[in-house]
């Protein structure tokens, strides 16, 4: 099924679009030229490459997490979730930063190309943030003795999650996709700029989360080598996973846009 979409999008040359453009140029209609989005072969190729790399990387880091990295002295095996939790969290931030940048570009250029990237990254970011919250809860129960506390980082992450769920909701409920894209872009910008302020306010409110572990405030590295290697491996693997999911989603959204354009072309 996936393959069919891929090949259909590949085969479909630009002639349908060209036909529409031609009719416009002929002066039959006065429809303004709408910026087009096509499935990009580059995105398609890199989605395949990063997909394979991410699969290999994730398998390797799974092995490293359970067989190479030593058990932590105090927390025992429970600590191993750290290798999943932290890379996911870092990539979620990257995803929302990508949303911020592409949203700003969309509002500036108003080309649907940027909106495609923004919504793709937002969806992956929401999934990653959900996993961060769940894996954090799983770790907190044995270590803190509770699933959840209203600590600064936990609360900020929860609010971050709510903001980007609202981001997806405003798109879903918009009366037309172009409006949804504009509104979502505004939320993508406001939400991202709001995060430091939210974090500061919640931090003054209360704090419990473990401090920076990897790069400590003194500047030293706080992890033994085997743990650090495992962590870096997992970080690379999850970053590849993020890039793969982002590109795959972008490709899918581009195909959707293209189909929508073919439909409009046929109607006109």
């Amino acid at each position: 099924m996936n393959q069919t979409v891929r090949s259909a999008a590949r085969q479909a040359p630009h002639d349908a679009i060209a036909g529409r453009d031609g009719s416009t140029a002929a002066g039959a209609t006065t429809v303004p030229a709408v910026p087009m989005v096509h499935v990009s072969p580059t995105v398609d190729r890199w989605a395949r490459i990063t997909g394979v790399l991410a699969a290999v990387g994730l398998l390797a880091s799974l092995v490293a997490i359970f067989f190479y990295a030593p058990a932590e002295r105090v927390q025992g095996n429970v600590q191993r979730i750290f290798y999943v939790h932290v890379p996911l969290a870092l990539n979620a931030y990257v995803a929302f930063f990508v949303v911020f940048v592409t949203s700003a570009l969309y509002l500036w250029k108003r080309h649907p190309r940027w909106d495609v990237w923004a919504r793709a990254s937002a969806e992956v970011g929401v999934v990653f943030t959900t996993l961060v919250l769940v894996s954090g809860s799983l770790w907190a129960k044995p270590i803190w003795g509770t699933w959840w506390t209203w600590d600064a980082r936990l609360t900020t992450t929860l609010i971050l999650w709510l903001i980007y769920v609202a981001y997806l909701a405003v798109r879903a409920y918009a009366t037309d996709p172009e409006k949804g894209a504009r509104y979502a872009a505004v939320l993508g910008i406001v939400g991202f700029l709001d995060v430091p302020i939210i974090h500061q306010s919640v931090k003054w409110w209360r704090t419990l989360h473990p401090g920076p572990t990897i790069v400590q405030e003194s500047g030293g590295i706080g992890l033994p080598p085997a743990m650090l290697v495992t962590f870096l491996l997992a970080l690379i693997a999850f970053t590849l996973l993020y890039v793969f999911l982002l590109l795959e989603k972008v490709r899918l959204e581009q195909a959707k846009e293209q189909v929508a354009q073919y439909r409009t072309a046929q109607l006109i």
Partner: protein, 288 residues
């Protein structure tokens, strides 16, 4: 309203630099000439000083000030319209005030506000009542504009989008402040708490401006969606978490006399960020 031409009325060319020619540049070059005579060129808007000759360095400073005056006049005209409308119909204000009063009464039952610990719960109860009332007001204000089709009117008027955003934000701020003042008096009467403090004024102002600045943005967005009653709080409350925390803490500080502390700075930071972004993206939100 006042003497002189109405700020929203399109003024003829050559007077005071208020002409914003949005049409395509004319073949006879009148648009270009206007730019030279009156307003500074607006970069990025079609048809204005496209050839780049519009920049007149000697007049640029005063023209910029002239623009600011025009902007302020536009903002004031819309705010005044909203105030007059509210004074005549009191539709939004009554909804907000009634809701705030009811919320306080519900809190009394739910949290036992009249008991000893009233001082500890009061700031939270007050701000929840304000923010919910503000949400009701925002939803109502934009729903009315929609029902009467007046938002289209405002969008058609020769008003800069940021001016429209700022005006709507100020209108809702004024309404919220009125409700807040009234409910503080009621609170003092009902619960015998000395909440009428002068040190509360900056907290109320900054908190309300921050909430209204984000709220106007999202209410304008939510009004154009299918689930507007649901979407407004879903959009608004996560973003305004800093306002909630900082306002409640600062109010608690003002009531018990320890002062608002650094919370005011946090509110200022939030207000500044949201206002700057809001003015910047106003065009994207207030469109068609």
């Amino acid at each position: 309203m006042r003497g002189g031409p109405h700020p929203l009325a399109p003024s003829p060319a050559g007077r005071g630099g208020t002409v914003h020619d949005r049409g395509p540049g004319r073949p006879d070059g009148t648009a270009v000439q206007r730019c030279l005579l009156d307003s500074p060129p607006r970069v990025g808007k079609a048809g204005e000083c496209v050839d780049g000759r519009g920049l007149d360095p000697e007049r640029e400073g005063s023209a910029w000030r002239q623009d600011l005056v025009t902007f302020a006049a536009q903002v004031w005209a819309i705010v005044w319209k909203d105030i007059v409308l509210e004074l005549r119909r009191r539709e939004v204000l009554m909804a907000m005030a009634t809701f705030a009063l009811l919320a306080l009464i519900v809190f009394t039952f739910a949290l036992d506000l009249a008991a000893e610990h009233a001082a500890a719960v009061a700031p939270g109860a007050l701000w929840v009542a304000y923010l919910f009332a503000g949400t009701i007001g925002l939803g109502r204000a934009f729903a009315l504009e929609r029902e009467w089709g007046t938002l289209e009117g405002l969008l058609l008027a020769p008003v800069e989008r940021p001016a429209l955003y700022l005006a709507k934000m100020l209108s809702i701020t004024i309404l919220m402040l009125a409700v807040e003042a009234a409910s503080l008096v009621l609170f003092t009467v009902f619960f015998n708490l000395p909440v009428l403090r002068l040190s509360l004024v900056p907290v109320l102002l900054l908190g309300t401006v921050g909430f209204a600045a984000a709220g106007t943005l999202f209410a304008a967005m939510a009004a154009n969606t299918r689930a507007r009653e649901v979407l407004l709080p879903v959009l608004l409350f996560p973003i305004t978490v800093p306002v909630v925390i900082a306002s409640v803490k600062a109010t608690a500080g003002a009531i018990d006399g320890s002062g608002p502390g650094a919370w005011l700075q946090l509110l200022i930071a939030f207000d500044a960020v949201i206002l700057v972004v809001g003015l910047w993206v106003a065009g994207a939100v207030l469109e068609d």
